[in-house]
Amino acid sequence: MRSLAIAAVNLRRFARQRANLFFVLVLPLLIVAMLGLVFGATDVDLGVVQRSGGPLAEQLSDDLGATEDLAVVRYEDESALERAVQRGRVEAGLVVPDDYTAVLEAGGTATVRWIARPGTASIQLRQAVEAAVARQGTVLRAARFVAAEQGGDVESRLAAAATVAAAVPGVDVEVRPADETVAAGDLGQFDLGAATQLVLFVFLTSLFGAPTLIEVRRLGLSRRMLSTPTRHLQVLLGESLGRLAIALVQAAIIVVGSALLFGVAWGSPPAAAAIVACFALVGASFAMLLGSALSSDQQAGALALVLGLGLAALGGSMVPLEVFPDRVRTIAHVTPHAWANDAFAEVLRHGGGLVDVLAPLAVLLAYAAVVFSLAAWFFRRAVTG
């Protein structure tokens, strides 16, 4: 109860300072936006002008609209589409001529116009359009062949060819990663990056509980708390619980916000929550250690920054652990970050659940226990001499 009272008073003080709202709400939302822009799964817009091109033109538009990660935006005329591309409202544009179906059914070659700004997105979009056109062309050639061999018009043979094409199994290409660590399944290439960034942020923001503890010591409040029937462990636990709650709120905003707004993948919710909670415990324990061992809040703030970024770099939150040589990767596991990143990798790459990450979670909890014990020793020494 006494620890909860200390945690509650910390939270009240934190909430009372308007500048702190930036750290709890605005900063996580900025991180959400950053993660969403960098790691999110948003569709790329393709503008299409297709007014009266006939069924085949309609079919091409529908096919493009069904392409994953691509959204079709209709425009009335070519000039409107050009403006949209120039102003960046869509990444690229496709103009389907009015005689598209008629020309193709007559055995001719229809020409579509491609409007794009230079860039990676437009190249990817062009590949998607070429693939859709190729799919349509295959069916069209089959229909022309049947019409030529068995008679009948191309339009009626097209329907039969489309039905047959849908029933013919395609060729599945199974991709097996040469290295277990390579992304598999529908994991985006950057989805693990979002998790490693979260690990970096949670630890860094937790560490900034250290100057707060130093301030409480400097005001003589820690000593005064110890003059009441409150043990020094209860005081330290209360101080760390307040910090832990703040870190968890920030992490929750980031995870839920980025998942809902940008489709960032976080894997199994219980597993992700457990990883964040255990790692935030480690962060809070580190904050208590700095806050107990140091006596200057400026010193603590500077060291928090160095530790927060340094351990994150070594622990795989800036560069994936896989790129490190084996020996460095082993050394990296001195940091709690490496264990948290391992746990997220298990959840995100292999679809792991809570049970699958018990081992790294146990390491993180052990880490928190050891660091907190050390913090308690320093705290007692600092306050009771």
Partner: protein
Amino acid sequence: MSAAPVLVCTGLVKRFGDLVAVDGVGFEISPGETYGLLGPNGAGKTTTISMVCGLLERDDGDVVVAGRPLTTTSVEAKAAIGYVPQEIAVYPDLTGRENLRFFSRLYGMAPAAATERIGEALEVVGLADRADDLAGEYSGGMKRRLNIAIGLLHRPRLLVLDEPTVGVDPQSRNAILEGVEALAGGGIAVLYTTHYMEEAERLCDRIGIIDAGVIRAEGTRRELVALVGERDRVRLAGSGDLASVATACGALPGVEAASVRDGAVDLIVEGARGLLPELLRVAAESGGLVDGVDVHEPDLESVFLHLTGKALRD
């Protein structure tokens, strides 16, 4: 039969490296009694109090509060203590009432009882009308009074006040002293440290004179003053080389102690009236220009000078 003492401490010792900050300090305080530790800054008052409140590991000695042995880890004995530290240990960004509510939880008080006691404590220290203002917006004196209110909150059997009037305006100081007098009248045992002789004389039933970590003498004001005997305290105010004046006067027969404080030379003298011409002559010869002479009946300042050879606020 007198009531059992609320505080018994014996043989307290605290060392910081080679420095012995407290060396064998011991005293007792009974219910309703105010005990003063009088000594200059650095005498060991705060170190003693820190050991009495279980805030500092001691190297030797025992502390028993309300019949329970006290260490830095014993929570039961601490429940009987109300500690008012020398620094203003309150949250500046919480209101006075919120500060009291917080500490009521640490003392394990039930919410309803806490609400009642918070109101009473605010009344006692005269902060009821400012209870919902942020403590950071209080004047220095109001912060001091809030500091004291926290110590009173749980009706402690022993109230420990460490220099509670330092940096306080005269009005707040008087309010604090009146409050302490009323508390002792209500049966609380009070341990009060100060380097202000007037406070010790006004408040304390018994006084321990502490210097360099050792209690030099202990007793009521009358008992302590009796140690000085028929000696008077002579104060030579003036300018010039006052240190030489003190040295020269201190060497005269009948002068027991001499020190310089606040632009004057303080002397403990046997038979002051007879010796006064000689003192003025020696002062003039030593380079001092005396422009005022006061002869005081013995007081605690005289006692301290007599016992330690230096003034309380050297």
